[in-house]
């Protein structure tokens, strides 16, 4: 459960303050498949970053499963990200020198679990995203869609309670984007993981079961699109 309460974020460029978020409040329940939509500069990425404890708000707070993240130290935030949050980025952000298997294994090295369980989790999730055959390929040997699948597997391998995806299909063609979204939707259901993703793409919005529309740093609409 994510509670965003009166969130403000100002960026200072030189001597000028740019407000990125202007009092955003939104509540996202567990297992939701929510899109944060809006035009470029509307504050989507900023909102996701603050929810994911990657950035700090100027004012307001984010409460994740009862924990007010604004009270957490750097280390505690890292700990929260390690256990509860998975990230998927627009540019995939895979580590180029590691294979698909090793990229997915990365988040697990921070967690204490037997090696056999790690191996099991990594192979299972990679098979689930359809990359069972590509375990030992490096990112530069894979297509954009395949790379994003690895990124999704990496986000999900630690069984987080939520996955934050920042424009996950922006660098993909429409067919691949469709495949990726279908995959995310399937994983949302099978893993019961909350998915929050930002987008300005109509295709992505169509997939979302809930659409939160941002404009100029404010929520302008928030509605369910499909039956749960």
């Amino acid at each position: 459960m994510v509670e965003v309460q009166g969130l403000y974020k100002d960026y200072k460029v030189g001597k000028v303050l740019f407000p990125a978020l202007r009092g955003v409040s939104v509540s996202i329940k567990d297992e939701e498949f929510t899109a944060i939509a809006g035009p470029s500069g509307s504050g989507k990425t900023t909102l996701l970053n603050i929810i994911g404890c990657l950035d700090t708000p100027t004012k307001g707070k984010v409460v994740i499963n009862g924990t007010d993240t604004s009270t957490l130290s750097r280390t505690e935030k890292a700990e929260l990200r390690k256990k509860m949050i998975g990230f998927v980025f627009q540019t995939f952000n895979l580590i180029p020198v590691l294979t698909a298997y090793e990229n997915v294994e990365m988040p697990l090295i921070l967690l204490t679990m037997p090696e056999c369980e790690k191996k099991d989790r990594v192979t299972t999730i990679l098979e689930e995203v359809g990359l069972g055959e590509y375990l030992h390929r490096r990112p530069n040997e894979m297509s954009g869609g395949q790379q994003q699948r690895v990124a999704i597997a990496r986000a999900l391998v630690k069984n987080p309670s939520m996955v934050l995806a920042d424009e996950p299909t922006a660098n993909l063609d429409s067919t691949t984007a469709h495949d990726i979204l279908s995959l995310m939707e399937k994983l949302n259901k099978t893993h019961k993981t909350t998915f929050i993703f930002s987008t300005h793409d109509q295709l992505v919005m169509d997939f979302a079961r809930r659409l939160v529309l941002l404009r100029d740093g404010k929520v302008v609409s928030d509605k369910a699109r499909k039956a749960e």
Binding site: R81, K82, F87
Partner: protein, 407 residues
């Protein structure tokens, strides 16, 4: 896994890693080579001093050593025989011989040269020293009027075997005395100073020349292989009368070994400077690695990696580069050192003996100190790790969001 990641990152830019590791290796290799050379020089100096000048230990009349440079003939060992017998009986002593050293001038009838005169007992001299083995022309002392002369000195004075030379000196009472000798042999030792200004003659004649009766200036002691010089020093000191003092060869020639220590330090500092320059190379490499991988650091932070893990990752990378540098440096340092140990450096022409026609060469050989190689190896890695800390600080200061946004 972090180590695996670090290992692969190091080889992302092979050329950069190679250059950095090569730079470190040059510094470390230079450290090993300089140490091998200095060890070799020390060892050669010790060898020459022990085999030609002092033996392992020297026994003087108390007070003589403090004025040794002045050759004080009034503080000598007046009755050497009982003392020789006493020292000879001590277990661990291989040989004892008596010597008289004195300043003199020698003349070939045309020119006069200042020399160091050494009166030796031909019967026992070879129990301690290698003078007999160093006669490269003519023969060892057989008759009372025989004299041995250093090869370089013989060349300078244009003296051959059978030449007549006069030794002029002051005796114990300050009276000038002179004696004619026939050059019986030419000495070519490994000791350059010995070859340049020493003449060696029979002890009895020397004592007569200096009016010393039975007196000698020193007893030189050679020890068995297993004997420890310091232990034997105290053992001999305890066994003999308090009127004598026993000094090790390092004490007698303390200044030489002090200079050697200073040279060693200077060479080490020069090598250290090279390592420092190499360290700047590592800083540069690691700084580049950090800057170009800022978005990657952001991704790791987003995954929940803390500063501890990020520092560890980059430290591994610095350590791996340092290890390569250390391995390379030790390897080529050892190869060069092995060359110095097996082949050595030919110093024959340096000592200007090549044209003397004697089939002897001055070759300085190195000596490898395995402990030092180990220290240098660890030093390379430790320096690499330490200098990596600075660029890594940049990585840890970054907010995850800023790192992710970095292009």
């Amino acid at each position: 896994m972090l180590l695996k990641l670090a290992w692969r990152n190091v080889f992302r830019h092979k050329r950069r890693t190679q250059i950095t590791a090569a730079a470190i290796s040059i510094g470390l290799g230079a450290m090993i080579i300089s140490n091998t050379m200095m060890n070799g020089m020390d060892s050669l100096a010790s060898y020459n001093i022990i085999n030609y000048e002092t033996g392992h230990l020297e026994v003087f009349a108390a007070g003589y050593y403090r004025e040794e440079g002045l050759f004080p003939l009034d503080t000598i060992i007046d009755e050497p025989d009982p003392l020789i017998a006493a020292v000879q009986d001590i277990p661990g002593v291989k040989g004892v011989t008596a010597r008289v050293k004195f300043p003199a001038r020698i003349s070939n009838g045309i020119d006069e040269y200042p020399v160091l005169g050494i009166g030796i007992d031909p019967a026992t001299e070879s129990d301690v020293f290698k003078i007999e083995q160093s006669v490269v022309a003519g023969h060892y002392l057989e008759n009372p009027e025989d004299i041995l002369i250093g090869a370089e000195l013989a060349k300078t004075m244009d003296i051959d075997i059978g030449s007549l030379i006069t030794v002029i000196t002051r005796d114990r009472n300050g009276t000038y005395n002179a004696y004619d000798f026939i050059v019986s042999g030419v000495l070519l030792t490994d000791h350059p100073l010995f070859d340049v200004n020493a003449v060696v003659m029979d002890l009895d004649i020397t004592q007569e020349l200096l009016s010393l009766n039975q007196g000698v200036t020193e007893l030189s002691v050679r020890l068995g292989r297993a004997a420890n010089v310091q232990t034997m020093q105290s053992r001999i000191t305890e066994a003999i009368d308090k009127g004598y003092e026993v000094l090790t060869y390092k004490e007698v020639y303390g200044s030489i070994f002090e200079v050697s220590g200073f040279k060693r330090l200077m060479q080490f500092i020069i090598a250290l400077v090279v390592v420092v320059i190499a360290a700047v190379g590592i800083i540069n490499t690691m700084l580049m690695a950090v800057i170009e991988r800022i978005p990657e650091i952001g991704t790791l932070k987003a995954m929940g990696f803390g500063n501890k893990e990020i520092i560890k990752l980059f430290m591994y990378e610095g350590g791996i580069i340092g290890m390569f540098g250390s391995v390379l440096g030790c390897m080529y340092g050892l190869v060069a050192s092995l060359f110095l140990v097996i082949v050595g450096i030919d110093l024959t022409s340096f000592f200007n003996t090549a044209d003397m026609g004697y089939p002897v060469k001055f070759i300085m050989k190195g000596q490898i100190d395995p402990g030092m190689v180990g220290i240098v190896f660890v030093f390379g890695i430790v320096v690499s790790l330490l200098v990596t800390l600075w660029p890594v600080r940049r990585a840890t200061r970054l907010q995850p969001v800023d790192a992710l946004r970095h292009v």
